[in-house]
């Protein structure tokens, strides 16, 4: 194992460190994380409406007492959703611009505004109502939600980089020192901001010119975003992600930090699109999203370690294992697994490598098949990752009771996978000497 660790330190760590500290990727990751207060509020609003409007309407029909009584709250939830998940691309444009500018050590507010402006300027804004055509009508559902995400990632990103470079090259308007800092900063950003926005405008104009007026955002959605997100829906992609994340965790590398900048634009965006489609009563576009992993694949945290803890409490005869089991089970219910990962430890423990990887792989396979076959509804509400297993799936699927059965099946499968390894660890050859002593 030491040789393997040495090999990983020489070959994988430098690459992973470069990815994990690459400032643009870090900015993208932080841009998603920074939106959490708003996206969680939006998710909560969607979730509340499930239990106040959607399920009562399904069970008792339109005009039922629950929905009528809470009509005021349902309306408020609609407002929260409209100001959060429904305008995800706009919020992301701000957050991305802010974080990239911060990474380049230039004024973050200006960066956020440049990114937002570069995104909005390219949106189709002409609509035909009846026989009248007019300007100023944005297609809220088509472009403001997660569907606009890749356009932000391309055009917003490009414009902020240009802005930052001009700021760093000091091509700015300099004000006397007597001018207040806020005014000075705003003036300094005029030339870089104008150049960045004109470059973005040129990109939109040239694209429209050469395509006979086609919209760049629609082209990006159709040609780049849809195929990539389509790829994310394949079993192979899900399997590779589960395998990679767990191998990273097992060898003491932060799987989420390494892969988040790649996963969030695909599975995170798919989750937001699902939530928006659900709230609008439209067809659910994606079967597998970021929340699917949280709901069904890793109860207790990475490696489904809650099931390892349960197996330890029931089958282990080792005092050190039992101690970790007792200490770890509380946090484990809420998917916090540092106590078991480092206490047992699971990290770099050759005995536990197989179940640590195999259990989530098996659970992902079962959940993926159940979702694709329509046995369980897809995840449509982004739920916080600390939600306990069973409840998480139920809420995330907007109250599909079959998700609870799926969670129970997955728990059983995970336990079956872990139990033999926990029993094997009782062997004196593997450090379970106290177990033998107890038996004697």
């Amino acid at each position: 194992m030491n040789g393997l660790v040495g090999f990983l330190e020489r070959s994988i760590v430098p690459i992973a460190a470069k990815i994990g500290s690459q400032k643009h990727l870090v900015a993208i990751r932080d841009a998603f994380i920074g939106l959490m207060p708003v996206t969680m509020a939006g998710s909560f609003a969607v979730l509340l409406n499930v239990f106040l409007r959607d399920l009562p309407n399904e069970w008792w029909g339109a005009g039922n007492g629950v929905t009528a009584t809470f009509a005021w709250l349902i309306g408020m939830n609609g407002h929260v959703w409209q100001g959060s998940l429904a305008i995800f691309a706009i919020l992301f444009a701000l957050s991305l611009g802010y974080n990239i500018a911060k990474a380049y050590d230039v004024d973050p507010l200006s960066g956020a505004l440049v990114s937002l402006s570069a995104f909005i300027m390219g949106l189709p804004a002409v609509a035909t109502i009846g026989e009248e055509a007019g300007w100023g009508f944005f297609n809220f559902a088509a472009h403001f939600g997660a569907r606009g995400l890749f356009t932000v990632l391309l055009i917003g990103f490009l414009s902020v980089i240009i802005f930052c470079k001009f700021m760093q090259w000091n091509i700015t308007i300099k004000m006397p020192e007597s001018v207040p800092p806020a005014v000075s900063k705003a003036f300094a950003a005029i030339i870089p901001g104008a150049v960045a926005l004109y470059v973005a405008a040129l990109v939109y104009y040239l694209f429209g010119f050469f395509t006979g007026g086609e919209s760049l955002i629609e082209w990006i959605i159709e040609t780049i975003q849809a195929p990539l997100m389509g790829l994310s829906q394949g079993y192979g992609a899900v399997l590779v992600i589960v395998l990679l994340v767990h191998l990273f965790w097992f060898f003491g590398l932060h799987g989420a930090n390494i892969m988040q900048a790649i996963l969030q634009p695909l599975y995170g965006a798919a989750g937001i699109e699902n939530a928006n489609a659900f709230e609008m009563g439209a067809e659910i576009p994606f079967q597998w999203v970021a929340g699917s992993f949280d709901a069904f694949v890793w109860p207790g945290g990475s490696g489904a370690t809650l099931l390892l803890l349960v197996a330890i409490l029931v089958f282990s005869k080792r005092s050190d294992y039992k101690m970790v089991g007792k200490l770890g089970i509380g946090p484990g219910v809420f998917n916090i697994n540092e106590p078991v990962m480092f206490g047992l430890p699971v990290v770099l423990n050759p005995l536990l490598l197989v179940p640590f990887v195999l259990a989530p792989v098996a659970m992902a396979t079962i959940a993926y098949a159940a979702t694709m076959l329509g046995w369980v509804d897809p995840v449509v509400v982004p739920i916080t990752w600390v939600m306990p297993v069973g409840i998480s799936g139920f809420l995330a699927t907007a109250g599909d009771w079959r998700s609870i059965i799926l969670s129970l099946v997955n728990v059983a499968v995970g336990l079956i996978i872990y139990i033999p390894f926990v029993i094997a660890a009782n062997s004196p050859k593997l450090g379970g000497g106290d177990a033998q002593a107890e038996q004697e």
Binding site: E9, P14, A17, G20, S21, L253, H254, G255, F342, L348
Partner: protein, 73 residues
Amino acid sequence: MIIVSSPMQQNEITELLTGYNGGDFTFRFKEKGGIRLFFEVTGDSREAARKARELIKSTPWGAILYFQSIAAE
């Protein structure tokens, strides 16, 4: 005493902490046990563990490391 658990970059972590001279804490490497590195510290061990976490995370490789830094009573 604090325990830093990490299978990766153990030499780098040891060098980083023992070479730290910020004035608030000193870290003296005591021993290694599997993935655990034990350090004698001056001052409050909980604060020292937090400082060690900060120092490790501030390195280029710290962001991708899955590790734990805790006070040992």
